[in-house]
């Protein structure tokens, strides 16, 4: 350990750009044993492990780094999977640069440990070696319904099954995984990886009901009566419009609509009103990870040109730095400091901006530059401006306390105003990271166990 003075930080290698933009396979290669071990060996093993502290799941990162460094894959696998319901997924999709790696002691001076890549390595190599997640074979005779199969749902199910509690999971889509399946493109997260986790849960005894929308296909009252507890993890799926003249035009789309449709077609499903960008000029408005996903999907869909329009400058972009880099590599053009004014049939009218004072969170405000309007040509305009919660009917029926954005109100234990019902993830906090949803799921599972065992 402590070899950071001798070994530099290395990211896992990527597939060549010309190759990767032709398909939806993952861009990053997985570390081989030597590389993972070498990179892990850089870790200090701090007295205050900031990575672990920052991680919403509080993964014991230094512990598994040390075990990888000393080639004890089994121990690393077990420790990694103890705190996380799906480390190989978060290793791929977490914005490590704003979480663990961003807080890594070495980040500012020597380059952070490549925590995400090693995390993925551990589980993938572990699976290859035959290790599997373990669940409690002893059942305690309690049953919980989980509504929604996204990161929060998978997490709560995982930890409930570990505690010996039976789980039935309800998903309105035809496949489980929620955002993991439909919201994140395959080049970031291969869909078989998500399916593998779901399959293990089913193997552990979970009943999965897909294409089953609560309030439509099954009543919430029925659920409430037949289960010992409920968990609602329905996410925040409602896309936002910019609120401009022309939002309603037919070449304006929402990010999630676009991504889901593309993904469904990948699954070989029939998709109505497919958004075909092939040969077209695409602009994506927004600077987060979803914007990057849209941009890069557009590239893979064969767009003629792909542009990202963002109000602030590059330094203020909320998305992962590495995704910006990947996008650029793949031919995306970034236009910073522009703010949309209106949508026209052949494009979008913009005004230039400049950066002002930073607010409390450190983010700088935006000033409009006068007389700087211009028009950007575009055939397809995609809004990637974040998500808000939907308010499905069954929530009204339950009469749960909601916040003013329709978020479900919960206490520190993820318990709602109905003691039997727990909730977490984007449905509670609004659009946020998958790993935070999973942390909520873990927290909720612990609370449910305490609630049921008393």
């Amino acid at each position: 350990m402590l070899n950071f003075t001798k070994i530099d930080r290395n990211n896992p290698s990527k597939r060549g750009v010309m190759e990767r933009i032709k398909d939806y396979k993952e861009v990053y290669n997985i570390f081989d044993d030597n590389k993972a071990s070498e990179q892990s060996d850089r870790c200090i093993g701090c007295g205050d492990p900031y990575c672990h502290n920052k991680c919403p799941l509080h993964n014991i990162i230094p512990a598994w780094l040390k075990q990888v460094a000393s080639s004890d894959l089994e121990l690393a696998f077990n420790i990694s999977n103890e705190t996380s319901p799906m480390p190989e997924i978060f290793g791929r999709i977490c914005p490590q640069d704003v979480l663990c790696e961003g807080d890594c002691t070495l980040n500012e001076t020597h380059g952070a440990i490549t925590i995400g890549a090693i995390e993925t390595h551990i589980s993938e190599k572990g699976f290859q070696a035959g290790f599997k997640p373990k669940f409690n074979a002893k059942k305690i005779g309690k049953k919980v319904a989980v509504i929604g199969s996204g990161p929060a749902g998978i997490s709560v199910a995982t930890f409930l099954l570990r505690a010996g509690i039976d789980v039935d999971m309800y998903e309105r889509a035809s496949k489980a995984g929620g955002l993991l399946t439909y919201g994140i493109p395959g080049f970031k997260l291969d869909k078989s990886v998500v399916q593998r986790r779901v399959d293990w849960l089913i193997e552990a005894g979970m009943n999965l009901f897909t294409s089953c929308e609560i309030g439509v296909d099954k009543s919430i009252k029925e659920l409430e009566e037949s289960y010992d507890a409920l968990f609602i993890g329905i996410g925040a799926t409602k896309g936002r419009y910019a609120g401009l003249d022309g939002d309603e035009k037919s070449h304006v789309h929402l990010a999630m609509e676009f991504l889901t449709k593309v993904q469904k077609r990948q699954f070989g499903e029939d998709v109505e009103n497919y958004i075909d960008v092939k040969g077209k000029n695409v602009v994506v408005i927004g600077g987060g990870d979803t914007a990057m996903d849209c941009l890069r999907t557009s590239v893979r869909e064969g767009a003629k040109s792909v542009k990202c329009l963002y109000r602030r400058d590059e330094a203020n972009m909320p998305g992962s730095k590495k995704e910006v880099i990947n996008s650029k590599e793949e031919g995306v053009e970034f236009v910073f400091n522009v703010s949309p004014l209106k949508i026209e049939d052949d494009g979008i009218v913009l005004v230039k901006t400049s950066m002002g004072e930073a607010d409390e969170s450190g983010r700088q405000s935006v000033n409009i530059v006068e007389n700087s309007q211009y028009k950007e040509e575009a055939d397809i305009i995609i809004y990637a401006l974040g998500f808000t919660q939907e308010k499905p009917k069954f929530l009204e029926e339950l009469n749960l306390e909601l916040d003013r954005w329709n978020g479900i109100k919960v206490d520190d234990n993820c318990q709602t105003s109905n003691k039997k019902i727990f909730s977490g993830g984007d449905g509670v906090r609004g659009a946020d990271l998958a790993v935070r949803a999973a942390a909520d799921g873990k927290n909720a599972a612990n609370s449910i166990v305490k609630f049921l065992i008393k």
Binding site: L2, F4, T5, I44, G45, C46, G47, D48, P49, Y50, H52, N53, K54, H58, I60, A63, K66, D72, E74, L75, N78, I79, N81, E82, T105, L106, T109, H110, P133, K134, F135, N136, R162, A358, G362
Partner: protein, 1478 residues
């Protein structure tokens, strides 16, 4: 106990001592006069009050002045018969004397005379006079035939009975009651003892021997009865193992049978040891008991204070057999000790195994021997002295007055080994466990459990415990190292599962006794463990050598099997003496009842079935059964067996899951376990490595390593208290018990110190229930163990005060403005809302005033004056960090501390100069120039992270710059010894303080102590040793690298130590003489104000300062890899340092401002006004807080609360040195013409040359003056510290001898010592010469004492013989020894060279070969070395006219073959410059 009030006035004592005897037993009055002169001339070793009359007591134990006694009896009309005895009695009234006389009569003694002892009370100080007892001599004669035969026995019996009867009468005391000796002692100064005791002036008062003693007590409440000598012993030093010795004497008492006394009489005598006596008095009690029961004088002496034999292969095998036999019956009374003893016929002096006290002797032409702490105590001409020498480590010298023979060490040894056939006895009866064990860890079956993870969880073995402690021990065979102190709560305050042993804090030696170096001085250490019965110690026979022996108390399956087999009737090894039985230590509910039941079962087994090996086994834990904590079970059983007088019949073996680090093992041993089988540690290792496919052989080695690591850790823990053998450590209770209630402490740990009384049996049981639930019912799935969080922060684990949130607040990354560099508000809120984690969190303010406006409060500049940065050396931290601290502190008018490791002279007189310069045990960079460039000199006795331990700076970290500052060689590992080798006791500390006040008279001298129960006693002693300031460091602070268990389990929080020190100083009326400072985890104004209220006048900050500078609590300081450039010497990493002076200043401004806010709120305008005001604090209103007893901390006794003097001026004004300085001051100022001064010196001239050196250093730094600019030609005997911190340009040429610490810290100049009696057989200088010297030359044409040239890093020396441990820790310089050396030569020597003349060819055995090698220099390759040596010897011969050098040089070609050159093994380039030899 709950209330530690008595601790405030308790004491430890050290002293000057000696004896004088006429070899032919001729009584003269001159003998008495000389004894008193000797005593007078060691006054500086005792305590003297300002009036010159009051001290801590002195006295004489004299052979019976027969002529005088007969004369005074006759004057009263009593014609004494041949056989008579005199009792000297201190009493309050006649009724006490009546009681005594009644016991005389009931024991067949006839009282013939009561004589009131004539005294002159004008000789007394005020305090002594106010408590002056009535002094009576009672003359008795035998009343019957029986009593004439058993006269001495009856005297003893009568005295013991009277003592028992009047044991509650403090005023009643019998100094002596004997026909052979009589004591004259009391609260008088040596200078006035003769004025006080009029008898002593009578010419007929003739004696043939005298033991004399002057006491230096740490307290100021001396009593008449406490003066020494006692009845047979005068002791200088401290018995570190005293608690264990007292316990063990009680155990031995169980099986006593005497030839002198009947059983009934013995019962009247018991207890052997008087209650409430000092360590020396207890030793005296024991020795006297052995003497009166007819034990051989020399055997008794050597049984109580044995030489080190266990690891001394050079020792004669028969002598070793004697010691091994005697070790069955006696454990060493261990500690620094020079003990003079007498039984009236014999007289002797014995030195402890480590040679930690000075004991010097000389024999005069008129057949008298003098043994004293110093040479020159009786001024004789050199011609009058025919022999001069000193006792070496573990040696004894004696006299048989009846035959008029002098017995030197070898004579005594020859006698000891030849009296019995010990070897045969041992061969026949001693069973060595290892001989029955083929190999260990072959059979692993006992280390496999189906439910191992539950068992591990129950034992608190987490991933972290495995990863940080157990596996490293298995891999490295030693305990791992950590850094940055401990920031977690006490076990009692924690809400997490904690080990029961976490309630116990290790004790350590500071000031009154030294710790030992368990690595470099392991030759004196031993873990030898014996099992079996305790036999009658008064009987020496073959049967009593029956014992099972093991080399260590840490067992494994194989050894346990053998032991069990010894007690198995069906075994061929069966021996009824070793019958054993397993007792299960699990329980279901009611732990207290379970303990009682467990004990009842054991008691029955011992009484009915003669079971002698009790095996306490916790392996029966299940889902339904929990374990009684091992320490609780051991403590309870041990204590109750003792109460039932059964302890000596059994040995306790603990089969326990709780032991997996050295600390847990030490707790069990200290509370009575004889041996430990830590099966769960082994099981954890097996289960960890089993998966890894390592070979059986490799796994076996891992297991062996783990046991080795525990052994090494035990040695370390024992050595911290200065205890060398586990036999003397067992039953010592050397822990502070914090947070356990009185019921638990009383029934399990009553001999230990305790504080914060709190948790009851029920509370502990509740904690155990939670632990048990977590272990057996709270399953995890993927990784079953808990992750930890005890050593390092983990979410959900133990609370850490420097958790990521705190360091993040300090490093506020979002700051855009300078004042926001740290988020102080955030920091404050985190700290203030942490809950009840540390002692101070349980207190809130309770002001007696209304709040005032902040404008009325004193300015922040006033408050800055009270701030200091804690000591951190430039070496432990980077130069960038070190200088930033200095500049910041100097800018705001606070103080920075150099730490020990030198400081670049370029920084002196600039803003980068550290106002505090530290002196620690390594003396690195401690030169005259360093010492004069500061306003405060801080002696670091202990450091928070690892009190009682030394340190090591690995060669890789010794960069060119570090080497330059420390006067050592780049790349050479530097070792700091655990003790200061010039401070083994309080009078030694007084000497060092005196030295420092000579070199830099304007500096304040500070002594840094670490908090522990009893630190108040030490603080009082330090104040009496003339320190100006005392620092009480919290054990939780400390930034240095240290073994993990030391960081976590040694010493106490500052709140405990500070309040105790403050109150103890007040109780002793010393508070006004010294300033008090504290440190340890202070962060906010709240901490500062609370510390002030508990008595601190100033405050030091370590960890917080480093954190401000960028430290992120990585806890890797010891790796040199600090990624933020704070604690590293790596040039690349240092560029990452981003700390700034502004940030530090901003932090201290915040702190001062915060303090001002609080003061305003409290209604006080100045910090000064709340210092010591513990009444302004109260315990918070909270259920959990109510569990604990905080009275010891919040206690406020009457008296002044702050220092009232500018300087604590020593009694010795050193006027001679001042006079001499005046004579040379012109030469110093204008060094053109050399000056020579003739002067007659005596042992009263201490630190000769130091004052002058300081004047030189002030002007010229370490460059000094041109060589020989000032020459002192001296005759006589030089006092302590001759030439200490000598500057270049001074030459001290002495015709005579010198005492201890010659040339200590000298940086230049020359010291030449030419005694009349020259050569290796005679002494020329005392102990610890050249300690930390960095340059100059020392020639002594005789031999010198122990630890010559210890930590020398530059001086060139030639001497003609040395004591033990010469050249220890040496890092540079050249030492030539033209004669015998003692053992342990070159231990820890990493630099420099030594040439040894070894004509008799036994030097090789004396080398500690760990780091050095000896090579011959008569080869082609070593031409340079030969040349160098020759030139040096020629210069030596010319300067000293040494006969030895003359002989060698005359025949250099052949004599060169008798030389060895000793050099560090890894040194390739020799630091020789032949020109320096000239």
């Amino acid at each position: 106990m709950g209330c530690n009030l008595d601790k405030l006035t308790s004491f430890k004592d050290n002293c000057g001592f000696g004896l004088l005897a006429h070899l032919k037993n001729k009584p003269t009055h001159k003998n008495l006069e000389d004894a008193i002169v000797a005593l007078e001339r060691m006054m500086h070793r005792g305590a003297v009050a300002a009036d010159g009359k009051s001290g801590d007591g002195s006295g004489l134990l004299l052979s019976m002045p027969d002529k005088f006694m007969r004369k005074v009896a006759l004057q009263s009309g009593v014609d004494l018969p041949k056989l008579y005895a005199v009792a000297f009695v201190f009493s309050k009234d006649e009724s006490q004397l009546d009681t005594f006389r009644q016991y005389c009569e009931s024991n067949d003694l006839k009282v013939v005379l009561n004589r009131e002892v004539p005294v002159d009370t004008d000789a007394l100080g005020e305090q002594a006079l106010s408590i002056l007892p009535k002094m009576t001599q009672i003359f008795v004669i035998p009343n019957t035939l029986v009593s004439s035969k058993r006269f001495e026995a009856m005297l003893y019996l009568a005295r013991k009975e009277a003592e028992h009867k009047l044991k509650d009468d403090e005023d009643f005391y019998i100094p002596t009651f004997s026909s052979k000796v009589i004591a004259y002692k009391g609260l008088v100064m040596p200078t006035t003892i003769r004025q006080f005791y009029i008898d002593l002036n009578d010419d007929d008062f003739k004696i043939s021997f005298a033991l004399f003693h002057q006491r230096f007590s740490t307290n100021t409440l001396p009593k008449w009865r406490l003066a020494q000598p006692f009845r047979g012993v005068a002791h200088n030093g401290e018995i570190n193992s005293i608690e264990a010795n007292r316990f063990n004497v009680e155990v031995k008492t169980e099986s006593l049978k005497s030839e002198i006394f009947s059983d009934e009489e013995l019962q009247r005598i018991f207890p052997i040891l008087q209650d409430g006596a000092s360590d020396s008095a207890s030793l005296d009690n024991m020795f006297e008991f052995l003497m009166v029961n007819g034990m051989d004088f020399f055997k008794a002496a050597r049984s109580l204070v044995p030489a080190p034999w266990q690891n001394a292969p050079y020792m004669d095998h028969e002598l070793r057999a004697f010691y091994e036999y005697s070790a069955i019956r006696f454990e060493a009374w261990d500690g620094p000790a020079a003990v003079s003893l007498t039984d009236g016929r014999h007289i002797g002096c014995v030195l402890d195994r480590n040679g930690l006290r000075p004991s010097k002797y000389f024999i005069t032409k008129d057949d008298r021997i003098f043994i004293t702490s110093e040479y020159g105590t009786v001024p004789f001409d050199e011609e009058f002295i025919i022999d001069r020498g000193r006792l070496q480590s573990g040696q004894m010298i004696g006299l048989d007055l009846k035959n008029g023979t002098l017995l030197k060490n070898d004579d005594i040894n020859d006698y000891l080994k030849s009296t019995q056939n010990y070897e045969k006895w041992l061969n026949n009866n001693m069973k060595y466990l290892q001989e029955y064990v083929e190999d260990t860890f072959l059979d692993l079956s006992e280390y496999k459990f189906d439910d191992i993870t539950s068992r591990q969880k129950y034992a608190n073995i987490s991933y972290e415990t495995l990863d940080q402690m157990i596996i490293p021990m298995a891999n490295e065979a030693k305990e791992p190292t950590g850094s940055m102190g401990d920031d977690t709560p006490l076990a009692a305050f924690s809400s997490k599962n904690r080990n029961f042993t976490d309630f116990f804090r290790q004790k350590f030696a500071q000031v009154t006794n030294p710790p030992i170096d368990p690595y470099r001085e392991k030759i004196v250490m031993s873990l030898n463990t014996g099992l079996g019965h305790t036999y009658n110690i008064l009987e020496e026979n073959e049967h009593n050598s029956k014992r099972v022996k093991a080399i260590s108390p840490i067992f494994m399956k194989e050894k346990v099997d053998v032991l069990v087999d010894f007690g198995d009737k069906n075994s061929s090894n069966y021996d009824p003496d070793y019958k054993n039985r397993f007792f299960c230590t699990t329980f279901t509910t009611d732990i207290k009842k379970a303990l009682e039941d467990l004990y009842e079962g054991i008691k029955l087994a011992v009484q009915e079935d003669n079971i002698s090996i009790i095996i306490l086994d916790d392996r029966a834990i299940t889902k339904d059964k929990k374990i009684i904590p091992a320490a609780m079970a051991i403590g309870y059983i041990n204590q109750h067996l003792l109460e039932d007088k059964l302890r000596g019949r059994v040995s306790l073996l603990s089969v326990t899951s709780e032991v997996y680090d050295p600390h847990t093992a030490a707790v069990l041993l200290a509370f009575g376990a004889n041996a430990i089988y830590p099966y769960m540690m082994y099981a954890s290792i097996v289960s960890f490595f089993e998966r890894k496919n390592i070979s059986d052989y490799a796994l076996q080695n891992k297991l062996k390593n783990s046991a080795k690591a525990i052994n090494a850790g035990l040695l370390k823990i024992m050595s911290k208290m200065g205890i060398a053998t586990v036999a003397s450590y067992r039953n010592s209770s050397l822990f502070d018990v914090l947070g356990l209630g009185d019921d638990i402490v009383q029934s399990c740990f009553k001999f230990a110190s305790s504080d914060l009384a709190g948790l009851t049996f029920e509370d502990i049981e509740k904690r155990i229930e939670k632990l048990h639930f977590d272990a057996y019912f709270n399953d995890k799935t993927m990784f079953p163990l808990n992750m930890g969080g005890f050593y390092k922060y983990l979410n959900g684990g133990e609370y850490h005060d420097y958790a990521p949130a705190v360091t993040k607040a300090i490093h506020n990354k979002n700051a855009t403005k300078k004042e926001d560099i740290s988020d102080f508000k955030g920091l404050k809120s985190l700290i203030e809302n942490r809950g009840q984690k540390f002692i101070r969190d349980f207190f809130e303010f309770n002001s007696d005033k209304g709040s005032i406006s902040k404008d009325q409060v004193e300015s922040k500049e006033e408050i800055f004056k009270r701030f200091a940065a804690a000591a951190m050396s430039c070496g432990s931290i980077s130069i960038e960090a070190h200088e930033a601290i200095a500049v910041a502190m100097n800018t705001i008018g606070a103080q920075s501390n150099s730490g020990e490791g030198g400081e670049d002279p370029a920084r002196f007189n600039t803003l980068k100069n550290s106002k505090i310069k530290q002196i620690a045990s390594g003396r690195f960079g401690v030169t005259p120039g360093y010492l004069v460039n500061c306003e405060e000199l801080q002696i670091k006795l202990a450091q928070g992270a690892k009190p009682g331990e030394g340190g090591q700076l690995p060669g890789a970290k010794v960069t060119e710059m570090i080497a330059k500052l420390r006067h050592t060689t780049q790349g050479v590992t530097l070792i700091s010894p655990p003790p200061h080798h010039d401070i083994y006791s309080i009078e030694d500390l007084a000497q060092l303080i005196f030295d420092l006040k000579q070199i830099n008279p304007s500096a304040k001298v500070t002594v840094k102590l670490v908090s522990t129960i009893g630190v108040g006693t030490i603080a009082a002693g330090v104040a009496k040793a003339y320190a100006d300031k005392i620092i009480i460091s919290g054990a939780d602070g400390g930034t240095g690298a240290a073994p993990l268990t030391s960081i976590k389990h040694t010493g106490n929080a500052w709140e405990l130590g500070l309040s105790e020190a403050h109150n103890s100083l007040k109780a002793n009326h010393l508070r006004g003489m010294v300033h008090l400072q504290t440190d340890g985890g202070l962060k906010t104004g709240l901490d500062v104000v609370k510390a002030a209220m508990l008595g601190a006048e100033s405050f030091a900050f370590g960890t917080s300062v480093l954190t401000i500078l960028g430290c992120k609590m990585l806890r890797i300081c010891h790796t040199n890899k600090c990624s933020v450039g704070v604690a590293t010497q790596d040039t690349d990493l240092r560029t990452r340092f981003n700390g700034t002076v502004d940030r530090l200043i901003s932090y201290f401004e915040f702190l001062a401002d915060d303090v001002r806010d609080i003061l305003a709120q409290l209604g006080y305008t100045r910090l000064e006004d709340i210092i010591g005001r513990s009444d302004l604090l109260k315990v918070i209103d909270d259920d959990f807080a109510r569990k604990f007893d905080f009275q010891n901390i919040l206690r406020r006794i009457d008296g002044i609360d702050t220092c009232q003097v500018a300087s604590n001026v020593p009694y010795d004004k050193n006027t001679e040195s001042k006079k001499l300085l005046k004579k040379v001051i012109n030469t110093i100022e204008n060094p053109v013409k050399p000056i020579i001064i003739d002067y007659e010196i005596s042992n009263l001239n201490r630190s000769f040359g130091t004052l002058t050196s300081g004047e030189i250093a002030k002007r010229y730094g370490d460059d000094g003056l041109p060589e020989d600019m000032i020459t002192y030609n001296l005759t006589g005997v030089a006092g302590q510290s001759f030439g200490t911190f000598l500057s270049r340009g001074i030459t001290l040429s002495l015709d005579g001898v010198a005492n201890d610490y010659v040339g200590k810290g000298m940086s230049g100049g020359k010291i030449i010592i030419k005694p009349q009696l020259q050569g290796s057989s005679y002494a020329g200088a005392g102990n610890t010469c050249l300690y930390g010297a960095t340059g100059g030359k020392l020639y002594v044409r005789a031999s010198v004492g122990e630890r010559f040239a210890v930590r020398n890093s530059g001086c060139i020396a030639v001497v003609e013989g040395t004591g033990d441990s010469a050249c220890e820790y040496m890092t540079g310089g050249i030492v030539v020894i033209l004669g015998e050396t003692g053992i342990n030569f070159g231990a820890g020597m990493t630099g420099g060279l030594a040439f040894i003349y070894d004509k008799d060819r036994h030097f090789i055995d004396n080398i500690n070969q760990e780091l050095v090698e000896a090579i011959r220099i008569d080869t082609d390759e070593t031409e340079l070395e030969r040349l160098y040596l020759k030139k040096l010897l020629q210069d030596y011969e010319k300067t000293t006219q040494s006969h030895q050098a003359e002989i060698i040089l005359e025949n250099f070609r052949s004599q060169i073959r008798n030389f060895w050159m000793v050099k560090p093994k890894n040194m390739s380039v020799l630091p020789l410059n032949p020109d320096e030899g000239d």
